[in-house]
């Protein structure tokens, strides 16, 4: 009995369901990209989406902050709830939602502005800072959170596009963090980076877990194994298997997962 209560307590503090998707279907015009996906993503956890190219993992990720709305031919069906609230409800404003669910993209995409202005962009738009000093604080906090403060603190007003690829990506993470989101979506954040920059970003992802719910799409199974606690394997638009990362990589249930993990498909 004692075991159960402890597990329950652990569940309630750490592993509440943050995002819950039921029967999600996504169509690009007439092609179905996501088929009937159900998944429950836990809070303050890193969840990795893996799978071969074109399996729909990025598409599903982009459903979680309604970025697919910007693609006119894309249609999403089913329910996605964040904190129990349906994000596809007509009353929900996608702009508000994206402030709560931040996103980091495959290729680092700093704006052609200074490092400072890149980070301050979100807080300014959402009115998070009451004064200039306040904004300076937010920017510093975000850059520290993005593990890039020490490298850029002396050149905050240099253009963000002048940084190296790995620094740019950490700047983009800092930029996403600055709007105080609850969820961070990362779409192959290391695919354009070299191994050293990748290691830095992975370390950062691990740190971010203490404050944020992180969902990461990755091509690299090693990366998924290193940074995530939960892993979802997508194949041809289906969610084939979802569970603890350790289990997926050591003892997968579905033969397709096993084939992919062992390198026979994908």
């Amino acid at each position: 009995m004692k075991d159960t209560t402890e597990t329950d307590r652990a569940m309630s503090t750490q592993n509440d369901v943050k995002i819950s998707a039921k029967g999600v279907q996504v169509y690009y015009d007439k092609n179905q990209a996501i088929k009937d996906v159900d998944v429950e993503i836990e809070g303050r956890t890193v969840t990795a989406f893996i799978g071969p190219s074109g399996c729909g993992k990025s598409t599903f990720l982009r459903c979680l902050n309604r970025m697919n709305d910007t693609i006119s031919i894309c249609r999403v069906e089913g329910d996605i709830l964040i904190d129990g609230e349906d994000i596809y409800d007509p009353r929900v404003d996608p702009v508000q939602l994206r402030a709560k669910v931040g996103m980091v993209f495959q290729k680092p995409n700093p704006f052609p502005k200074s490092i400072y202005d890149n980070v301050a962009y979100g807080p300014k738009i959402h009115g998070l800072a009451k004064s200039k000093a306040d904004l300076d604080d937010i920017v510093e906090k975000a850059l520290r959170r993005g593990a890039i403060w020490d490298e850029v603190k002396d050149r905050l007003h240099a253009p963000g596009t002048g940084l190296s690829g790995g620094q740019q990506q950490r700047l983009c993470i800092a930029r996403a963090v600055a709007t105080e989101p609850e969820v961070l979506l990362m779409d192959e954040p290391c695919s354009a980076l070299d191994p050293i920059a990748t290691a830095q970003v992975e370390e950062l992802i691990d740190e971010l877990r203490s404050d944020y719910t992180v969902v990461i799409v990755t091509h690299s199974m090693q990366q998924a194994a290193r940074v995530s606690q939960k892993t979802a394997f997508f194949h041809l638009g289906n969610l084939v298997e979802y569970g603890d990362t350790d289990k997926i990589f050591t003892n997968p249930e579905d033969p397709r997962t096993e084939s992919y993990i062992s390198g026979r498909i994908g």
């Binding site: 970025m67 910007t70 508000q96 402030a99 993209f105 052609p112």
Partner: protein
């Protein structure tokens, strides 16, 4: 043979020879390796092309250059052969006594030049009229009439010396006109056999042909630049003459423009001043004023159109409106000018009243219509620039919870700004050089003094004055007024050149950011 060696015949012959060379060369290349094609360094088609190039290119170049050179050669021979003792060239003793030595030299040179021109005209008339004209006559008036009846131009009275010289010139021209085609024919046949002889398995025909093609491409890419340089040279010389006669600063900082009329042979007015006032300032002012009004109209409209089309419009709307806008850019400016003159001008006058706007032509009339003309120009260029901002920028901004309009104003426009500024500068340089709209709608004052501040008043612009002076009673290309036109063109060229350079630099700077 005489009739064969004309330019069109030889050109046709060269082309036919080249085509034959292509077919035969290709065949010979195949035959040289007995159809075992991999043994050939170059494919048969390259050998064929090599024969074509060797046959046609030198021959056609000779034909082309000879048609220019011919005129120069015949002119210089004509000038050298003019007999100074001809009665046509003499200045009557009575006049001679009244003139100074220097004036006599000038007069004689002028008379010689005139005589040469008359001979050329007469020779052209004789050639044009053909052999049916009886030239063995001493009734020169009848000859002139016969030539006129045959549709030819005869400007001066024909004299015996002139007719002799014209006949000599005609014979010379006939001979000269055959030299070029003859050389071309020899080159074509020679090139044909030379290239044909080189065909073989080892010959690197492909490399040679590719070098030729590269040569053509280089020629094509430098042609427009060379033309610009030639135009500049043609405009510079008369402009410098004008500057030295009238004074560069008098021109540039003069605030009056009025043409006194024909001032040929009378370079100075009564008070030792030029009779014409040729100040650049009022024209520059008019030009810039109208361009400014045009940009006030075109930039906001064009930019907003571009933003709407590239960021907000549905694909269907865009598919309709974008081509429609671009068609607008193809409307000839004279049509816009008419629209300004008959519609916009009277409308504006009716709105503001005749006290403020005495004429339908005004700065506002020309400026607004020119602005409308520039809208598609600005929108099309800006649209391209906005579209070239990477999608990742939009995603990044939207992903942070920015709205679409925040994304446009805070991310996309700043990123596209240098390109947009480049587009605006290009539009400005078009506005400054625009002619037809201002000729019709800005006013045609022949004299202005000072700078007109009233936007409903008429102004003159650089281009309208160029048109007016060149269209007016021509006073020869050496009158001070005509020279002033060259100076105007010269200055205009530099203003637009400077603006285009500026625009290019801005655009280039912008490109560095994403490539």
């Amino acid at each position: 043979m005489n009739t064969f060696l004309s330019l069109p015949n030889v050109l046709l012959a060269v082309i036919v020879l080249a085509i034959i060379g292509f077919v035969l060369g290709r065949g010979r290349a195949r035959a040289s390796v007995m159809g075992d094609l991999p043994k050939l360094h170059s494919r048969p088609i390259h050998h064929g092309w090599h024969v074509v190039l060797a046959t046609a290119v030198p021959a056609i170049l000779v034909l082309f250059f000879w048609s220019f050179l011919q005129g120069l050669v015949s002119n210089s021979i004509l000038n050298a052969n003019i007999d100074p003792s001809l009665p046509d060239l003499q200045i009557p003793e009575a006049q001679r006594a009244l003139l100074s030595e220097e004036t006599i030299v000038v007069r004689e040179a002028a008379q010689r030049g005139l005589f040469a021109e008359n001979v050329k005209t007469l020779a052209a008339a004789l050639t044009g009229a053909g052999p049916s004209i009886d030239i063995a006559t001493s009734d020169y008036e009848a000859l002139a009439n016969n030539l006129r009846d045959a549709g030819q131009v005869v400007s001066a009275d024909i004299t015996p010396g002139m007719l002799d010289a014209a006949l000599d010139l005609q014979a010379l021209q006939t001979r000269l006109s055959m030299i070029g085609p003859a050389i071309a024919m020899v080159l074509a046949v020679g090139g044909f056999f030379w290239a044909f002889g080189r065909i073989g398995a080892e010959f690197r025909a492909r490399n040679v042909v590719e070098r030729w093609i590269m040569g053509f491409l280089i020629f094509a890419s430098t042609m427009a630049i060379l033309t610009t340089v030639a135009i500049l040279a043609a405009v510079t010389v008369p402009s410098l003459t004008f500057f030295s006669e009238y004074g560069f600063l008098n021109f540039l900082f003069g605030f009056d423009w009025s043409i006194a009329g024909d001032v040929v042979g009378q370079p100075e007015g009564e008070n030792g001043e030029y009779a014409s006032q040729l100040g650049f300032m009022p024209l520059l002012w008019g030009t810039l004023y109208i361009s400014f009004v045009a940009l006030i109209v075109a930039v906001p409209l064009g930019l907003m159109a571009a933003i709407y089309l590239s960021e907000f419009a549905t694909a269907r709307f865009r598919a309709w409106v974008k081509p429609a806008l671009e068609i607008l850019a193809g409307v000839p400016t004279i049509v816009y000018g008419l629209f300004a003159l008959v519609t916009v001008g009277p409308f504006l006058q009716a709105v503001v009243g005749t006290t403020i706007m005495p004429n339908t032509v005004s700065v506002i009339t020309a400026g607004t219509v020119m602005g409308m003309m520039l809208v598609p120009f600005v929108s099309s260029l800006s649209d391209d620039v906005i579209n070239s901002v990477p999608q990742a920028m939009r995603d990044g901004s939207l992903g942070l919870g920015a709205t679409k309009s925040e994304t446009v104003t805070k991310v996309i426009l700043p990123a596209a700004l240098p390109g947009i500024v480049g587009a605006i500068v290009l539009a400005a340089s078009r506005a400054i050089g625009e002619t037809m709209i201002v000729v019709l709608a800005a006013g045609a004052l022949s004299s202005v003094s000072g700078l007109e501040a009233n936007p409903f008043g008429a102004v003159v612009t650089v281009t309208t004055r160029i048109v007016a002076v060149l269209q007016g009673e021509s006073s020869g290309f050496d009158s001070i007024d005509t020279l002033a036109v060259f100076a105007l063109a010269f200055t205009l060229f530099f203003i637009t050149l400077g603006l285009n350079l500026l625009a290019q630099r801005i655009v280039a700077k912008y490109r560095e950011q994403y490539d």
